[in-house]
């Protein structure tokens, strides 16, 4: 049916342009609301220092894949930092929902996907910053690459993957709760998932119930992929080599793809429900 208003100028941005605009907004928060970003940076640095110092002795347990505790805990710090950088975008979204700013975005003709992708791009950028800083601190504390530059690529890949998952999770919960209850669950969920894995000790050293849970937890695979550039490969507690292998990579990639898809779908569904 034709409309009198059909000829009025009526444009909209492409998904990438709109997402980039929203990404820039997300990145401005880094300098304009540092309290929202810097804890995500400081916490993993603290974690590296504290864990590698406190649990130093665990490297002496037979079968532990490295003799440097910083090599073991630095990738964990990087992934935790990236995860919380992603979740930080969920907090921002809650703020936007509570103030009504998100209504402004929803009333614009910006493609709906850009409302999820924009924060995602910002999370990736933040994750890269966190990864670079924490890795630098780790090296300063004595971390050493055993897997060459490819090991570093795996670490960055893992951190981007976790940031994607965390952002989707955070955005989805923000859409679901639309207030700070979502924030508490975001953090708790991530925290518990990450620690119910090989966060503190490898499977070969673990005993009891945690061994079973960590084996099934896909984050274990992501950790394995991210750590492989810094630890040795062990079989039955014996070191058999070092470096990046497909064996230690494919599980992490699969976990990243599967969890990212689920998280982004969760976020997108949440956005659709807002429009309902």
């Amino acid at each position: 049916m034709t409309s009198t208003f059909a000829n009025a100028p009526a444009t909209r941005a492409t998904t990438s342009r709109a997402a980039s605009g929203l990404m820039m907004r997300g990145l401005r928060t880094i300098t304009r609301l540092p309290s929202a970003f810097f804890p995500a940076m400081l916490m993993p640095i603290f974690q590296c220092v504290a864990f590698s110092g406190t649990f130093f002795a665990i490297t002496h347990v037979p079968g532990f894949p490295t003799d440097r505790s910083i090599n073991w805990f630095m990738p964990l710090g990087v992934l935790m930092g990236s995860a919380f950088a992603g979740v930080g975008l969920g907090f921002s979204l809650i703020r936007d929902l509570e103030t009504g700013f998100f209504d402004r975005l929803r009333m614009s003709p910006a493609p709906r996907n850009s409302l999820v992708l924009g924060p995602m791009y910002a999370a990736w950028f933040r994750s890269l910053i966190v990864t670079a800083v924490v890795t630098a601190v780790g090296f300063a504390l004595g971390a050493r690459l055993t897997g060459g530059l490819l090991g570093l690529v795996m670490l960055f890949g893992g951190s981007l993957g976790i940031a994607t998952v965390a952002t989707g999770w955070g955005l989805g919960l923000a859409f679901l709760f639309q207030d700070m209850r979502g924030a508490a669950i975001m953090q708790l969920g991530l925290f518990i998932s990450m620690f119910l894995s090989t966060a503190q000790a490898p499977l070969s050293v673990m005993t009891g119930w945690l061994h079973g849970v960590a084996t099934l937890n896909p984050i274990t695979n992501i950790l394995r992929m991210s750590r492989q550039g810094f630890v040795n490969h062990t079989v039955n507690g014996h070191t058999v080599g070092a470096g990046v292998t497909w064996h230690d990579t494919w599980g992490g990639l699969l976990a990243i793809v599967a969890l990212s898809a689920a998280a982004v779908l969760f976020a997108r569904r949440g956005l659709n429900k807002l429009d309902a």
Binding site: P39, M43, F46, A50, F51, G53, T54, F55, F56, A57, I58, H60, V61, P62, I192, F195, L196, Q200, A201, V205, M206, T207, G208, W209, L210, H211
Partner: protein, 275 residues
Amino acid sequence: MSVGTIAPRAEFAHSAETGHAWSQTMAMSKRSIIAIVRQPALIIPSLIFPLFFAALGSSSFSRATQLPGFPKVDSFLALTLAASVLQGVIFGSVTGGAALAVDIETGFFDRLLASPTSRVSILVGRLAGNALFGSVEALFFTLVMIPFGVNIRSGPAGVAVITVAGGLIGLGIGGFMAAMALRTGSAEAVQGIFPLLFVSMFFSSAFFPRETMKGVYRSIANYNPLSHLYEGMRDLVITGWSFDAVLKSLLIPIAIGCVSIPLALLALRRRLRAA
């Protein structure tokens, strides 16, 4: 007609003159405790997280107990009871301090000041809530871990000391939180201390024995009072009754309180002067 001074009504004159500080303190303590009980969402993390870490630790680090420098224990879990008490009470104390800051932010604190409430009772009431909650948490963790195989070698007396220690830690740490709340009037600022306390726990023997650390890290842990406090309570669990353990468990939080409570009183006095 001049107004002159207006005397309080006869039936209230006695209260106004004596202040009934004790009954006011009890009332404020009761309020503090009721607030804790009625907001489970605030206290559940301080009960659940330490248990979570304890469970994680016992699975991740059980083999580490065979390493040189580790105390002789039946299981890693036995080492975590004292750490859980410490963590839980610290988490809980932050909540109490934040509640005082919220009172200031919402104006309820001014309402108390405008009444004949004894000023010190406002603070003491808040700290009493912290102390009671600390003791309850200590007992809670003890009772939860016993069925999982933790054998408290010092027996009921040791449990009593750990329970009292929990209360004293709540009092001591609560003093710092109250000082921050009174100084800043901001719940966010109080919660901002939490990372500092959390960090100080890591730089102690609460998670792994000092003997297994090295370098600067070990030095910091050696001087950290939380290390000695933790070891006192730990020894009551894994070694048995000893005065050394009892003294560490009780005197160190008392010493912390001797610093923190005067700080809180000073902050209270400053706030009253500014009002």
